[in-house]
């Protein structure tokens, strides 16, 4: 079984079969991670470059661990301290790295579409680790994996995504994947950070948090990027926190056996209170654990067929 696409660029348009194949494969990798030696020789001899043009803790370490657990060789690149500061273009950087014989590239970039662009100018397999406000497919997959692990299925689950929907690639990847698998998705946040067009895709858009939380199973709380306040989209962090912050007294509206998720990094006391982040219903750390297994599954499924010609 292989994925229909040679690269992982986003969850938009990815068939349900492919998403389920990644999630099912990740179950086996989670078992590998629980072993005494949590490492398998599967990708021996394969070289993977982690090309990070934006800061990242979780995603970068998670990808690097996933690569190492599969015995691939890894090279890390961050834009600061590289020739990017001398004005080298993305294409030139990529083609130079590729000239050193690599097989896969994991890219994070502030420009939406940069992974797609890379597929047009290099031979390597490309994995999107977050491109601008567009998509962050492995985050979407690990969120869905974590939900499926707890509830056994995705179909029919009521998921609310709260926060800065407009600028969030995590929200977009979650929405595409969850809709494909049949969840009921709604979004909630300040009107300035809420794209109304989403209603066209069958997503409920709320600007009132209590209404949004009513009868939901899962709340995925997004990080508030503080620079949004400087750009005039928010009056103050305190106001944001009062209207859209997830605190314990908001949780009563949720279904029994509800779950709180957050992709990290958290602003405690802004979009989520410490008490909620550490509550028994929070799966924020399991999300991180599952991230490695899900990324291993993606790397494994994309690694086959060396020398295969691009479709």
């Amino acid at each position: 079984m292989s994925l229909r696409s040679r690269h992982l660029l986003g969850l938009e348009g990815m068939p349900a079969d492919d998403i389920n194949l990644i999630l099912d494969t990740a179950i086996s990798f989670k078992e590998v991670l629980s072993r005494r030696i949590p490492k398998v020789p599967t990708l021996r001899g394969m070289t993977i470059v982690n090309l990070f043009y934006e800061p990242s803790t979780r995603t970068r370490i998670s990808f690097e661990l996933a690569e190492k657990r599969l015995s691939a060789d890894t090279v890390n690149f961050s834009a600061s301290g590289s020739s990017v500061s001398k004005g080298e273009t993305l294409k030139d950087t990529m083609q130079n790295i590729e000239a050193m014989k690599i097989d896969m590239v994991v890219i994070r970039h502030s420009a939406a579409g940069s992974p797609h662009y890379l597929t047009t100018c290099c031979q390597s397999i490309v994995i999107n680790a977050g491109d601008g406000a567009h998509e962050h497919p492995t985050q979407g997959l690990l969120d869905i994996f974590t939900m499926r692990e707890k509830y056994g299925k995705i179909e029919g689950l009521k998921v609310v995504i709260v926060g800065d929907i407009k600028h969030s690639r995590v929200a977009r990847s979650n929405i595409w994947g969850l809709m494909t698998l049949g969840a009921k998705v709604s979004v909630c946040g300040p009107p300035t950070l809420l794209p109304v067009e989403m209603e066209k895709f069958g997503i409920k858009v709320h600007d009132n948090l209590d209404q949004a939380l009513d009868g939901a199973d899962i709340v995925n709380v997004l990080r508030l990027q503080r620079e949004r306040q400087q750009s005039g989209l928010l009056p103050s962090l305190r106001e944001y926190s009062r209207y859209w912050g997830i605190t314990k007294d908001r949780l009563g509206k949720l279904n029994e056996n509800f779950t709180i998720m957050h992709p990290g990094p958290m602003n405690r006391g802004v979009e989520i209170s410490s008490e909620v982040a550490e509550g028994p219903y929070s799966v924020i750390l399991p999300q991180v654990t599952n991230g490695v297994a899900v990324r291993m599954a993606v790397l494994y499924l994309l690694s086959g067929g060396r020398g295969k010609v691009d479709e």
Binding site: I27, V32, R36, Y300, S303
Partner: protein
């Protein structure tokens, strides 16, 4: 498939007899069932492992631990295949350190599956010994690996195909050789 290209070489009774004989050989070789654990290779090796463990438990009057390994991640051809093999779960819920592992598979052919299984097992710990039990040895080894316990030796040519069918997976217990020229295990 056309009937005339396949030959049935074992049935339910002969498979059961072979497994009973192998069980006794395991006990004879190890002077009892102390310290023995059984590990089957997915999918049909795992079924045979369950059956062997049941036999051994009856003879030795103690239940032996049975585990299942999936060797996909240890294959030497993963990166060459166009279609990635499905990774299934490994279930080894017991410690194998200092145990005698009886590794079980349905057919031994090139020996590459067993090579992968040995690497997988050793990543779980250092067993005192690993012994190999197979239902069918069809020859054509490409690695210096040999079984300790064999149900039936079947000389084959490379373009023949040996298929082990087991009730739990296929609804019937039998071993057939397919001579239609497709090759493989």
């Amino acid at each position: 498939m056309p009937k005339d290209t396949t030959v049935r070489i074992m049935n339910e009774k002969s498979i059961a007899l072979a497994l009973t004989r192998i069980s006794h050989e395991i006990i004879e070789r190890n002077k009892g069932t102390d310290n023995i654990v059984i590990i089957g290779i997915r999918t049909r090796g795992a079924i045979l492992a369950e059956r062997l463990a049941e036999n051994l438990s009856k003879i030795g009057k103690v239940a032996l631990p049975v585990g299942v390994i999936d060797i996909t991640l240890y294959r030497d051809d993963v990166q060459d295949k166009l279609d990635q093999p499905v990774v299934q779960k490994t279930d080894l819920l017991f410690d194998i350190v200092d145990k005698v592992v009886v590794l079980v598979d349905d057919v031994i052919y090139t020996g590459r599956t067993i090579r992968a299984a040995l690497d997988a097992i050793i990543d779980f710990g250092r067993p005192r010994a690993i012994q190999l039990a197979v239902l069918i040895d069809r020859g054509h080894r490409e690695l210096p690996i040999g079984p300790d316990f064999i149900g039936k030796v079947v000389p084959t040519s490379r373009n023949e195909r040996v298929e082990v069918h087991l009730t739990e997976q296929d609804g019937v217990d039998e071993v057939i050789i397919d001579r239609s020229g497709r090759g493989g295990v």
